[in-house]
Symmetry: D3
Subunit: 71 residues, 6 copies
């Protein structure tokens, strides 16, 4: 693991509610005060970061990855 | 514009608070219950969707684009 | 599901020809008049949107995700 | 430039119809049988690849970047 | 496979050290002189490009996908 | 800024060699042992993180964003 400083935008702090482990990638569902944020990361990362149900995490998104739709 | 049905995960509903227009891409800042969500989209999309400060929108993120960091 | 209006660029309308279901993500192959477009989405989305072979869908891509190569 | 072999999926062959040059990124609109495919790439790439209106190109998209919406 | 010319930035040349095959996506670990670069691509691509341990490849990244953190 | 722990894969440590500032996004070129890594981030992030020529940074890429091409 590396410890770094990142921009404070597009961060969703929460607690891991569920992990669906796959052979290559896993789904990590993060419960935030305002809803579930779903992430797909490598199963290798889940293990390297020792992510478990209940772990406090930040879900992070690059601004160029955010789309806008109109209601 | 096209009207479609999308998955309900990773949607951040809010109101546009600020738009920084560039010649090619623009920054659209959406005030949501999760905090400010910042999106970079084409200036063409800003015009096609007629986005303005105050417009109600959904900021959308694909699960494979969400990273996880540990606090 | 949410119903939203999106920008009309980078939309490929077609019919699902094949779905390869994985434990976490699935491959969805969309047959369009001009070729197959392949998408990898969460298996959760496949179920939430009730995607099946034969379902009419739009494959969508954000402009910032499109690369250009020269022939 | 590098010459490489890539997977044949999610390639949209066409001709550049318009380029909107920005200081950092540019919009490249490619006319393909699928319709217009819009790409945002660095202005540096536009110059390095010598892209111009009329240049034949491939627009490329990674499968994990393709979203699915229902009509 | 298609043979194309691409921008020379953000290319990491190396040899495949490990492939973890999944039903939909696979992890491809590329050993470069400066460290391992990890890629997740469709298992279909692994087969179409006939990727194996020892194959010489380029790992490629679009500039808009690169994040910056401060040490 | 937030200080977080992240997975150690796909990190390219280096020094900023050049910044091209745009009104919305900026190009940040990082000199690393792998060669120059080019990133496009919001100009807002450049300012929030106080990035300048000479600043030591990590360029980070999610594994799902890395493509593989054959030489």
């Amino acid at each position: 693991m590396s410890v770094v400083a990142i921009n404070a935008r597009n961060q969703f702090q929460g607690t891991i509610k569920e992990i669906i482990l796959g052979p290559v990638v896993s789904e990590v569902d993060v419960e935030t005060p305002f809803g579930i944020v779903t992430s797909v990361i490598t199963t290798r990362s889940v293990k390297d970061l020792d992510l478990q149900v209940g772990t406090e995490v930040l879900a992070l998104v690059k601004s160029t990855e955010v789309s806008i739709a109109k209601l």
